[in-house]
Each structure stands twice: as structure tokens, then as C-alpha cells.
Amino acid sequence: MSIEVDRAACTGCGRCADICPGSLLALDESGAAFIARPERCWGCASCVKECAAQAIALYLGEDIGGLGGRLTVRRDGPLLHWAVRLAGGETKVITVDGRDANRY
């Protein structure tokens, strides 16, 4: 369970580093975000949601049966468009409306 940063997409805003509840992210000398200890990640996706550039993706470690999918999210007002990019390249999008409560 962890996250990875797409350095090419990262704008160096530092918001992910501020938000992580474990303070696991920092900016490197070139100003891009990095996670030095990915195995310390809780998988809460706070950084994923905080990154306006969608440069951070959540994945499941192979030790817990992860299959290489990458989860990112794009915010659009109250809507969160979550996208799972499967290892094979296909992307599935699930939209959650923040104004709706869970049914369950």
C-alpha cells in the first residue's frame, strides 16, 4: 500500500507534504514531491485528493495482492472523479458527489 509521484506532472506546490497525516512527503532539491519511505504510507489518499495536478496515485502493494492499478482523483466542485488506471492501460472512472450521503 503506498503512493507514487509522477514527477513530470508535479508542480512542486508542496500541498501534499503539508497534508500527509504521517508527514511522509517532502520536496527534493529539484522541487518535486517524493516519498522517502513508501512502506510507511497508510493509504488514506489525503495527498491524492490534495494534489490539484493529479500527480499522486495510490496503489496496493504486491504483498497484499496488488495488481498494479493506480488510483487518482480529479476534483470538480462537489464532485470527485476517481480514476483507476488498470495495469493493462484501461481506465475506469467512478464519480462521487459530495452532496450525496452514503446509502449504506
Binding site: 500500500m1 503506498s2 508542496g14 507534504a17 503539508d18 497534508i19 500527509c20 497525516p21 504521517g22 508527514s23 512527503l25 517532502a26 520536496l27 513508501p38 512502506e39 510507511r40 504510507c41 497508510w42 493509504g43 488514506c44 489518499a45 489525503s46 491524492v48 490534495e50 495510490l58 496503489y59 496496493l60 502493494g61 504486491e62 504483498d63 497484499i64 495482492g65 496488488g66 495488481l67 498494479g68 492499478g69 488510483l71 470527485l80 476517481w82 483507476v84 488498470l86 495495469a87 475506469k92 467512478i94 462521487v96 459530495g98 452532496r99 450525496d100 450521503a101 452514503n102 446509502r103 449504506y104
Partner: protein
């Protein structure tokens, strides 16, 4: 008011001291801490300082979001019904006074959260739609940012984000502040306060987790809630209660995501590998539901699942969205494997044990007003004991009760010397921090000691590996090994503030392990077989219808037994 630092990590050798003063210091800006800050300001003009190791917008249990408000009194029910439920679930070991005062405030806390912007599902009549008798359905994805925003807007409240409190500071036996380190900047904080609230949550990471490899932090309880609040209290001599009532959660295999949404939301039953529904056979209390799964696995009928296969595609899609609001990893698993809950049952397992006063009764021993045995120190939420099944709303209520008590106490002592003049020195804490830094990098070693601690606890103090069983001889062995690890941890070194924080996290977990082991040894019966089984005392013994409490004095844990307190009483120390 919020303060932000920059994000670069720099090697550190010496610390700059920063002195801060406040009327009320809140350690931990989580659910209870934020709610307490807001409540205090309704009852006092005094200043509030929240010291939070992360950023209050996404810290603690609520970081990923939650799925429901698990504690609510349904229309037509009385708060006493909640007390009765929680008492039965905990086999009697609860504080009636704490449960009742919490239950009386649950619905107001829910209403306040709704006023702050939380979306709550309504029924046809405009009331809250209930899930079962005690849960309210919400969109809990943004519950923490909402609380944080209310705090940020309040002029009386100052937030120090990324400040990790390490020790309480005392004068004449009373708590008068705290020592802290910045987790990113080379700064040491000496905080002086007229009252202090400990709201640091519970403790994860004491035991070897379900997934000890790369995904070791993919646990249910936040890996960043390390029991610091308990540990600083224990070291200062505070009385603790019921630590032996550990919490073991029943969770989705691998992702350790919550299962309540499946069990209660779509009525998924527990089934074993043969397809038999087993959940009724073991009883339906929290501990019994877990025991069922553990026993089915131990007796060779695992793996166990929640039966979801056969639900509609629409229900499945709703579940995928619901999990994105609280445990996105589970939705990722469903989508990437193609085994969505309508086509495949969801495998479940028991987690490693946690100490969490919002689920069981473990934590600080507090008065009805939530003051600890250390004058001037209050506790609320997962840090406070005696009052299980608090969840989000209960943590809020406890924060509010403690905040009102602190406001009253401060009004009574108004005009007396406060703040800086009475700030006790924190030099020993500073010297300790600089000592760790002088020794330089040894990150590997901190990790290694942590792993060793988790192995010891797993093997000798009833972890997953032992099917949650322990016995007197094993516990004595565990105590010796944890003491040895404590000695070794004293010699660790760190090159930067994050490394230093990790040393403190290990130190705090070791302190808590010592007390936990003493509690496990003292309760010579098996009361909650799902949470912990004493192999040498396998039956429930009503001679133990009492609280097992403890206090650390001179480095040794001493146990006290206290008689049960009912809801008719107001308990003062």
C-alpha cells in the same frame, strides 16, 4: 489561525527553543481535540492552542473519511439504551457515569457536525435516516476538513501544525504545559498552559500487523496514532484503566478496510469456506463476531468471508462509492481485480490488537468531567478510558465535556498567576531530544527495534500469531524483553526531525506496552474472548467485575482494582 512550515528536510544537530503560552493547550487536533476547541470558545474568552503532529485538515482517524456516525440515539430511544448496549457489549466493564453523559450529548454533536457542513442522509420525514438502531448515514469524506475549517476561522484558537508533543510538564504535581518538537523544522517547543487536554487518539503498531511486509502500515487504526498521549500520562504517573480490553477489528483482508458498511449496509453475513453462515453461533457482540471468524479459521473452516455475491449491480456500485469516501484502497482492490462485491464475497480477517478508548474501555482513568488523576490534565476521545463505543460523535461529546470543565476551572482560577510565570522547565526533554540528534542517523535501527517490539508482543502478549492468547509466563517474558528494548531505544540516534519523531513514537509504544502487559497479567480471566484469551484462565470469572487500573511509579507499573461506577454517580478523584 494556522501556521505552515516549508517541506524540505534538513539534517539537524541542535534545536532552537520556542516558548508559547496559552490558557488551554489541546494535544492532538483530531475529532475530540477540534470539537473541544470549538466548545471551549463558547464558554470562555480564553486562548486555545492546538498542538498537532500532522495538519488538522487531514489528521488522525478521520483522515481518509468515515462512513457513518456510529453513535446516535434513534428517535423514541433514550440515552440509557445506548449505555445498556455498550455495557452488555463490554461484558460489564464500563463506567456508567461516562457512558450516560456521553450518550446524552450524541445527538447534539451530530447536529453540530451537520451545521458545520456534514451531509447526513434524511428519511422521508426529514429526520436522519438510520442504519440499524444507532448509526446515521453520512458522506464522511470531508468530515475532517469541515472541523478544521471551523477551527481555522475561530479567532481564539491557534493551531500549531506539525508539532509533536513528547512530554507533559508538571509543577507541584499539576500539569502546566508540554514539551514538543516540530516534525520538520529544528525547533523545540516549551508550551505553558493553565489547563491541558490530551486528545491524541489511541495506539496502533504495538503488535505485528496483518501485513508485516511492504504494506505494514496498511492497518485499520492510523499508524500515526502511536499512543503518545497514553505514554506521556503514564510517565507522569497518571492512572490508566482497562488497557487489557484491547480492540481487535474484523476487517476486509489485505486492505483492512471497515466491514460495517457491508454487514449493516447490505446485510452481508459471515460465511466460512463451506458456505455456512456462522455468525449466529458465537454471539453478536463486537468481540464475539470477531471470535467467530478467528475460531472458524483456527479450526480449518477458513477463509471466512462476508457474503456479498448476489447483491445487485446497483448496490455494488453504491458500495464502490461508499468505500471511496472512507477506505479508497478497498474500491481500488475491487476495481483492479474485477471481483466487485456483487460477483465475489469479501474475505475478512481479524486485525492485530489496538488500544483505542473510542471502541473499548482502555485509556486514561477520568472523572465524570473527564479530568485525569493529574490535576489540570483532561482526556477525551480514544485517549480516554471507561467509555467504549464512542466513535465520532462520542469523541466530540467527550471533547465538549472536557472543554466545559476546563473553562470552569480556568474561570475559578482567573486572576491567579498563569502562563509564563508558572511554566515549568522542560530542559530535560530538550536535552533528551538533542541527545538523540547528536548520535545521528540510525533510522534502520529504529525500524528494527519497532519490529522486534511487535514480534515480542505478538508472540508473548497475545497477537495474531497466537490467536490472541496469552498466559502469565509469556507475559512475564514479554515484560523482560520490552524492558530490554526500552534500554536499547535510549541509545538510538536521528539525523533529522522526522527520524527524531520516529524515535519518540517507538519510545511511546514501548512505554504503553509495559503498562498493557501488566494489565493483561492482572486480569486473570477471559472476559472478551475475541479480544484476548488467557490460556491459563480460559473462563469468565465475575470476581473480576471490576476495573483493572494502573499507575507507573519509579519505572514500575503497579496495579489497582476499583469497583464499578454506575450512571447514578458523579465520579471525582
Amino acid at each position: 489561525m494556522q501556521e505552515q512550515g516549508h517541506n524540505k528536510m534538513t539534517p539537524v544537530s541542535a534545536l532552537r527553543t520556542c516558548r508559547v503560552e496559552t490558557d488551554l493547550l489541546i494535544i492532538g487536533g483530531g475529532t475530540a481535540g477540534c470539537f473541544a476547541a470549538l466548545t471551549f470558545c463558547k464558554h470562555s474568552k480564553g486562548s486555545v492552542l492546538i498542538a498537532e503532529k500532522a495538519d488538522i485538515r487531514r489528521s488522525g482517524c478521520l483522515a481518509a473519511g468515515v462512513n457513518a456516525l456510529n453513535a446516535y440515539i434513534a428517535p423514541g430511544k433514550a440515552p440509557q439504551s445506548y449505555v445498556d448496549y455498550a455495557r452488555a457489549d463490554a461484558e460489564g466493564i464500563v463506567r456508567g457515569d461516562l457512558l450516560l453523559t456521553m450518550s446524552e450529548g450524541l445527538n447534539e454533536a451530530a447536529a453540530e457536525l451537520e451545521r458545520l457542513g456534514l451531509v447526513i442522509l434524511k428519511d422521508a420525514g426529514g429526520g436522519y435516516a438510520m442504519r440499524g438502531e444507532r448509526n446515521v448515514k453520512i458522506n464522511g469524506e470531508n468530515i475532517k476538513p469541515l472541523l478544521a475549517e471551523a477551527v481555522r476561522r475561530h479567532p481564539q484558537i491557534r493551531v500549531l501544525n506539525h508539532v509533536n508533543v513528547t512530554d507533559l510538564t508538571l509543577r507541584d504535581g499539576a500539569v502546566r504545559g508540554a514539551a514538543a518538537i516540530d516534525v520538520r523544522q529544528p525547533v523545540f517547543y516549551e508550551i505553558a498552559a493553565r489547563a491541558v487536554l490530551c486528545a491524541t487518539g489511541g495506539a496502533s503498531g504495538l503488535y505485528r500487523p496483518n501485513n508485516p511486509g511492504f504494506s505494514r502500515h496498511k492497518m485499520w487504526y492510523p499508524p500515526f496514532n502511536t499512543g503518545a498521549g497514553y505514554a506521556m500520562g503514564i510517565r507522569a504517573g497518571a492512572e490508566m484503566t482497562s488497557l487489557e480490553m484491547r480492540f481487535v477489528a474484523l476487517r476486509c483482508k489485505g486492505t483492512i478496510a471497515p466491514t460495517g458498511t457491508l454487514a449493516q449496509g447490505v446485510g452481508a453475513r459471515q460465511v466460512n469456506a463451506r458456505g455456512e453462515v456462522y455468525e449466529g453461533r458465537y454471539g453478536l457482540s463486537t468481540s464475539q463476531r470477531l471470535l467467530g471468524t478467528v475460531t472458524e479459521n483456527a479450526e480449518g473452516r477458513g477463509p471466512c468471508c462476508l457474503r456479498t455475491a448476489g447483491i445487485t449491480k446497483g448496490q455494488s456500485d453504491d458500495l464502490l462509492r461508499a468505500y471511496l469516501n472512507m477506505a479508497p484502497s478497498q474500491t481500488l482492490r475491487w476495481v483492479e481485480s474485477g471481483r466487485t462485491p456483487d460477483v465475489a464475497d469479501v474475505p475478512i480477517e481479524g486485525t492485530e490488537p489496538y488500544i483505542v478508548g473510542g471502541h473499548t474501555a482502555a485509556g486514561y482513568w477520568v472523572s465524570t468531567a473527564r479530568e485525569t488523576t493529574l490535576p489540570g490534565l483532561y482526556a477525551a476521545g480514544d485517549a480516554a478510558g471507561g467509555c467504549p463505543q464512542k466513535y465520532v460523535t462520542g469523541a466530540c461529546v467527550e471533547g465538549a465535556i472536557a472543554a466545559r470543565a476546563a473553562a470552569r476551572a480556568l474561570a475559578e482560577t482567573a486572576g491567579q498567576q498563569g502562563g509564563a510565570e508558572t511554566a515549568p522547565p522542560a530542559q530535560s526533554a530538550l536535552a533528551e531530544a538533542e541527545g538523540f540528534l547528536r548520535r545521528g542517523q540510525s533510522g534502520e535501527q529504529t525500524d528494527a527495534l519497532e519490529e522486534e517490539m511487535q514480534s515480542v508482543m505478538d508472540e508473548y502478549a497475545g497477537g495474531i500469531g497466537q490467536g490472541y492468547q496469552c498466559h502469565a509466563e509469556g507475559l512475564a517474558e514479554a515484560d523482560g524483553k520490552i524492558r530490554a528494548l526500552e534500554a536499547r531505544a535510549g541509545g538510538l540516534g536521528a539525523a533529522d526531525m522526522q527520524g527524531l519523531t520516529w524515535i519518540y513514537e517507538l519510545r511511546d509504544r514501548l512505554t504503553l506496552c509495559r503498562s498493557l502487559i501488566a494489565h493483561l497479567a492482572a486480569r486473570r480471566e477471559t472476559r472478551w474472548p475475541g479480544f484476548v484469551r488467557r490460556a491459563d484462565y480460559p473462563a469468565k470469572d465475575d470476581a473480576f467485575l471490576l476495573y483493572v487500573n494502573s499507575r507507573m511509579q519509579g519505572g514500575e507499573v503497579s496495579i489497582l482494582h476499583r469497583p464499578l461506577v454506575g450512571e447514578a454517580e458523579t465520579y471525582e478523584h
